[in-house]
Amino acid sequence: MKRLCTFILALLFTISLSAQQMAKGIVYDDSGIPVGGVLVSVDGDNSTYTLTDSNGFFEISANKGTVLNFSCLGLLPKQIKIDGFGSSLSIIMDTDTQMLEETVVVGYGVTKKRDLAGSVSQIKAEDVKAGVITSTADLLRGRAAGVSVRQESFEPGSGITVRVRGASTISADNTPLYVIDGIQSTAGNQVSPEDIESIEILKDAAATAIYGSRGANGVIIITTKHGSAGKIAIDYSYNTSIKSLRNPWDLMNASDVIRYEMLNWKNNGAAGDPPYTEAEQAYTGAGTDWIKEMTRNSTTRTHALNLQGGSDKIQAAASIVNTKDEGLVLNSDFGRTSARINVDFKPSDWLRAGINAYAAKTDRTYISMGTKSSTDNAMYWMFLASPLNTIEGKNVFGEETRMENVYYELMYKDLNVRVNNSYITAYAQADFLKYFSLRAQYSYNFEMDKYSTYYDCNTNHGAANKGIATMEIENSDFQQMEGVLTFHRDTGKHNVKVIAGTSFLGNNYYYTGMGAHEFTTDAFRVWNMGAAAKIDWYSTARSDKYNLSFFARAEYVLNDKYIFNASIRADGASNFGANNKWGYFPAASVAYQIGDEPFMEFTKPAFDNIKLRLSYGQTGNDGIGSYKSLRSYAFQDIYLGGNSIIKGMYPANAGNAFLHWETTTQGDFGIDFSMFNHKLEVNFDLYSKVTTDLLNDINISSSTTGITTTKGNNGVISNKGVELYLNYHIFDTKDFSWTSTFNISHNKNNVESISSPTYYSLRPHGSYADTQYAVVQEGSPLSTIYGYEWIGIIQEGETYAAQPKSQPGDPKFKDIDGDGIITNADRKAIGKGDPDVVFGWGNNFRWKDFDLTVFIDASIGNNLLNVSKVLLEDNNRLNSCFDRWTRNNPSQDVIRGTWKRDGGLQYGSFVNSHFVEDASYIRLSNIELGYTVPVEKLNMSQYVKGIRVFIGGNRLLTLTKYSGFDPEVSVNGSSAVTQGLDYNAYPAYKQFNAGIKVTF
């Protein structure tokens, strides 16, 4: 794409010819694109000048030693001395970042980056090479300081947890607010990455407080691609990838199992017949690797077509994107088709109006895993499937045997989620009275989520019920109406901008669901529930939620140096107690371009600018659903005999008339500077967030109302942290450039107060006791793993006074409270689910027509409780079980018995430090090598404007000590309190990518 320096086009020009020699060359911008319209003049000679042509070429008469001046709006001026006339000159002009006046989208407006007083991270989609991804959140991973992005599972279409500056709430929602083209939306993840122009993440209170009650978790503003005048382009891109299993588990194969069981039999005195005959013992094959058999090399592909263009009066952009993502595990898939059209009209100088419309359909087929009961857990059966049994339903000795459960549990379930989401937004904006503009916007969003399950007669659950089906449909009607009045006047000395506005949000939610079982055939799946002999349940529900808000913000910049911002928002929400519906959220910030002060002149050789920022403000959180302030009664099925089910009514919610906002108060101190002629840009932030009146389920005595928790305001959580962002154009020449982006953040989360600790329990299987593994308690961070401290295995002849009933081979735990006996009180924090430090380091290299991206991200200091390992060890599936303790093998690693309930364990539990692993990792998250076909050199430019092809890979290399599939998993989804658990998680993979993009 060629670039034209339009500013100069307005000038008339002549070419002065004289007896001197001709200097010639091409002017490029810093991204290597030729620039047309650059004024080339001879220094000290006002009459000799020329303009570069559309290919950036110029020719000018000059003498040896003459200095040429190059100038163009938006680029930094450059001077070149003519040393000779032999070859064509190559001139690179750097972008004048200050002149370009980079802008940042903030709440209800746009601000010059220079004038920003809050903490905002900006991501331009075109700068991010994330490989073949299907989720918007993946674009954010590792790209912005203070924003942690964690994949909940490697299953296609599964959730991604995004946290801005740590978790600040327990049971209310921790997800940041997504604002897509001005619309508050819960569907941030449903936007196709291909549609995105830029993403801004508002982090401190100065930036988020304008969103009041919904800003406490940070705000992610997504701007989709819009058309621009004079430029018409059609892009088509195709990306594809192949995922291949990454399995670090060291599982026993068939001959290992035979060897192990024989060894075990001998160690137990060789009583009775040996478990295998001599012929069987001679088997040396590996048998079946069920994890391999039940997974595949799966492909992901995306087609995206983008059209954009326009004139002065009308601009439009449209896209259609189709993505299909096959899961590594059989019968798990994700697909999405989305279409978007953004049209902006400009009928006159003072009026603008437009319509954005979007529709998307996503389909997901998933497997059941994680903490699901073992009857319905595909991963559980995959882990436990015997390598001695083959996929043909025989064993390795050729005998017919029962087919492994995992096969049925994966292949004969239909577990689906379909989401249809569409919205349409219309806006009009009028400028009047010179300094004012008024914008009104209305949007309507319809979302339908359809969840269906069918277990056919081959599955455990389906066999028990002769086929069982459920279908649940959720419909949401979401409306948003906003009006914003803006005053903006810039006199040069004083730059004042004031906005005031109002917003109304209405959300009507409708639910319909039913379940049935006992089908005479599996043919119908969920599509003929009337054919079931038994209708188990049917349910409908409706709930409404409304928010009404008023807000205002003033921005004042004095002398382009002193920046003051203040904002206030009043929010009313229907879901709070009768007298507590309104909340007020103020924020103020100042910024100081200290680098521009005369007394800072000494910094000038290196520093282009230095800005200090300070902000303070409050935001809220109302993400607790509706009706929690009222005592309410729900209905249930009761059976008291005979052949009928009768209805029961019970108090389901204890009610709390005092329920009110959760408030987050945040202070932020930041320094921004750029150096070496804007080659290096640095942002540094220190913040402290304190969330008070925490909305959570307060433990109450069941003796009062029969209910154990009630939603209330209780407790304080703090998050303190540091963020650093660097962007460095290390090399920048015509043929080679290297840009490096690095961000690192540290967050420390702590529960400052809470009325009583809350424990979270786990029961990995019916054969284990329900066991507490996580706690929310004063003085610990959220997602604290809580259990016993393992200090080894009791050896033969050893007595351990604190465990008088233990036998040799039993685990030994530390007597933490020193009372001489291991009890429940000897538990402590043994790990934490959230990292201390996360960083992302991206490098973009360009050499001639090739580009190379290397992106590395890391998470340091978090742990995982590896419950999968407990299960595998207890069932002798791991090769490490050869080290199991016996009288002849004084192991310090694998206990003599099991951790199961009837395993004879007298003290402690499997929740102990032995199974808590360091889940830190450094990962080569993405590598991509691209080639831009030089269409002009190849004389193809009449057909295509550009072609880029790439190959690459995601997650090709992960450095971690973690022994499970992957250190990044979170089987508890986005829960703020129980991160750090790995149990029956979806297998991990490496991904190899390729793609092409053609611009017409």
């Binding site: 302030s629 009664y633 059976y639 005979g642």
Partner: protein, 548 residues
């Protein structure tokens, strides 16, 4: 724009309109609605008696067994955090709280709202009965608990522990009301799970017997009064024998889940009901008591060998209701499980491979036995639901209670012996095992025999621990139980030719007999940790001085 916004949207949008549940404003506006509130009082029973009450009343005593379980070893610290103790607390208090709402709301409703056979009296009778049921069990399990009878209490209130005497006063009043309001029977099997007049009398008898037992142990003179009150209530129940209730011809008839008529047999006075065909009306009780290899059971609760060894093999409560040997359901021709026939044979079973004329490649000695009272019918199917009843009060219990009361009042009498012999006659299907009055010279001796008879008859029916406490035999029976466990392992060492002490680890987990006392904290469960963390005074619930 602000004006535009304000004009379109008025602030009353912020008032919540509830569409899909009821609030205090619109609940209890019809008789049917009030009846629904009563129905939900029973909802917690299934979960309560699925595991927790068995753990608390049988496993923690000498009639239930689960190796390695903290209840089994009476590890007090374990009970404090065990989720079964917590579940029992939560569900029993939930029953009481749900009953409170009905007792507060229904009297305020106008009589005209009750139609279609629904009456205020019936609804209140059920609620009063269930509140009494909840507090009776709460005090049986935890000793002292807070007494809350007001449904409008602040949900976050931290109520103090009440004295057992005050709670018993409340239970007595509630049961009086229930006795007045409840019918003797219901016309429809659909109501089989609701309490009756007979159930209210039976629970009053249980209450008075508990009070009498405690008074006797404390040497209080009013013990006899309580025994007399109890006698009156037991007689009220027994007066209905032949009219409402009858002893079934065999013990199996009480539990047989295979026929509809047996399921509704009239020995049951109050029972938790389950459907074999309606999913939301059935439960998985049948899976709790057997092993996977036997019938794909979950093996959560077994019977101790020590109890099994006490049975006469001619007793149907042994021969019909217990599993002492079986073939592995997966390998019926290969693997056989068998319990030793007596304590001195423990550890000898695997030495023989031929049983019932069949030779097995593998014989495994059972370390526990199974009950068939809650027989699972769906082996080989992943259908967990089974129509097993759980009897909470049955006629044979009442008959034995009468024998006990008479013995306490008058010492051994022929009338008391005859009552016991009715139960024994059914168990043995003949008179040959009848007790003789001449064998019992005083009340203590006959009490001992009644205690054993109740174990034979009512094991794994959630009554054992309260029985032992009432009779003052907790220390005695638990000492015998743990002594017998140690002896069992000594025999195993001998029979397997191992060095002495080889199995020490297996029995040393149990409390030493000399560590047990008549005022042992372990007679009751501690109030669970979750509650104590909110209200520290609950730690003192087992302060027996309260009633002295």
């Amino acid at each position: 724009m602000a004006i535009l916004g304000a004009s379109i949207i008025s602030c009353d949008k912020l008032d919540e309109v509830v569409y899909s549940s009821l609030t205090d404003a619109n609940a209890f506006t019809t008789g049917e609605n009030a009846q629904a509130a009563v129905n939900s009082i029973y909802a917690p029973l299934r979960s309560l008696y699925r595991e927790p009450m068995f753990y608390i009343n049988d496993i923690a005593a000498d009639t239930g067994f689960k190796d390695g379980n903290c209840f089994e070893v009476m590890n007090d610290e374990g009970n404090y955090v065990d989720n079964r103790t917590e579940t029992a607390w939560t569900l029993l208090t939930q029953i009481a709280a749900r009953a409170n709402i009905v007792i507060d709301k229904v009297p305020q409703m106008s009589d005209g709202l009750f139609r279609n056979g629904i009456t205020k009296e019936q609804l209140l009778g059920e609620a009063y009965f269930m509140r009494a049921f909840a507090y009776m069990n709460l005090t049986d399990v935890f000793y002292r608990v807070p007494l809350i009878t007001d449904s409008n209490i602040d949900p976050t209130a931290k109520e103090p522990l009440a004295s057992v005497k005050d709670i018993e006063k409340q239970i007595e009043n509630d049961l009086f009301n229930a006795k007045d309001y409840l019918p003797k029977s219901y016309a429809s099997r659909d109501d089989a799970g609701r309490p009756t007049y007979g159930a209210a009398c039976g629970y009053l008898a249980r209450l008075y017997m508990r009070q009498a037992g405690r008074a006797r142990l404390q040497g209080d003179a009013d013990a006899a009064d309580y025994w007399n009150y109890a006698l009156e209530e037991v007689n009220n129940v027994l007066a209905l024998e032949g009219v409402q209730y009858s002893l079934q011809p065999s013990v199996w008839d009480v539990f047989d889940p295979t026929s509809e008529d047996k399921i509704y047999n009239n020995e049951l006075i109050f029972a938790i009901r389950a459907s074999g065909s309606i999913v939301s009306g059935s439960w998985d009780l049948g899976l709790q008591f057997t092993s996977w290899d036997y019938d794909m059971g979950w093996g959560n609760m077994y019977q101790p060998l020590e109890m099994t060894w006490k049975f006469d093999h001619a007793d149907q409560r042994y021969s019909v209701l217990q599993v002492v040997s079986y073939e592995n359901v997966y390998n019926p021709d290969k693997t056989f499980y068998k319990a030793a026939e007596s304590i001195d044979k423990y550890g000898t079973v695997p030495s023989e491979h031929t049983y019932n004329g069949k030779t097995y490649t593998e014989v495994i000695e059972m370390s526990e036995t199974f009950t068939q009272k809650y027989k699972f019918l769906n082996t080989w199917k992943y259908i967990y639901e089974c129509p097993n009843n759980l009897p909470l009060l049955r006629l044979s219990d009442m008959i034995l209670c009468k024998a006990e009361i008479l013995n306490e009042l008058h010492g051994p009498t022929q009338e008391a012996i005859d009552l016991i012999n009715r139960i024994r006659k059914r168990a043995f299907q003949n008179d040959s095992h009848a007790l003789n009055l001449s064998d019992y010279s005083n009340a203590d001796e006959l009490r001992n025999a009644i205690c054993d008879e109740r174990m034979y008859e009512l094991n794994l029916e959630c009554v054992r621990r309260p029985d032992l406490i009432r009779m003052g035999l907790w220390k005695d029976r638990m000492s015998k139980y743990v002594t017998s466990i140690a002896k069992k392992y000594a025999w195993k060492e001998v029979n397997e030719g191992r060095e002495s002490g080889y199995y020490n680890g297996a029995w040393q987990a149990y409390p030493k007999p000399e560590s047990l006392s008549d005022k042992d904290l372990r007679m009751y469960m501690p109030i669970p940790e979750r509650e104590v963390l909110m209200n520290g005074t609950y730690k003192d619930a087992r302060d027996y001085a309260d009633n002295e």
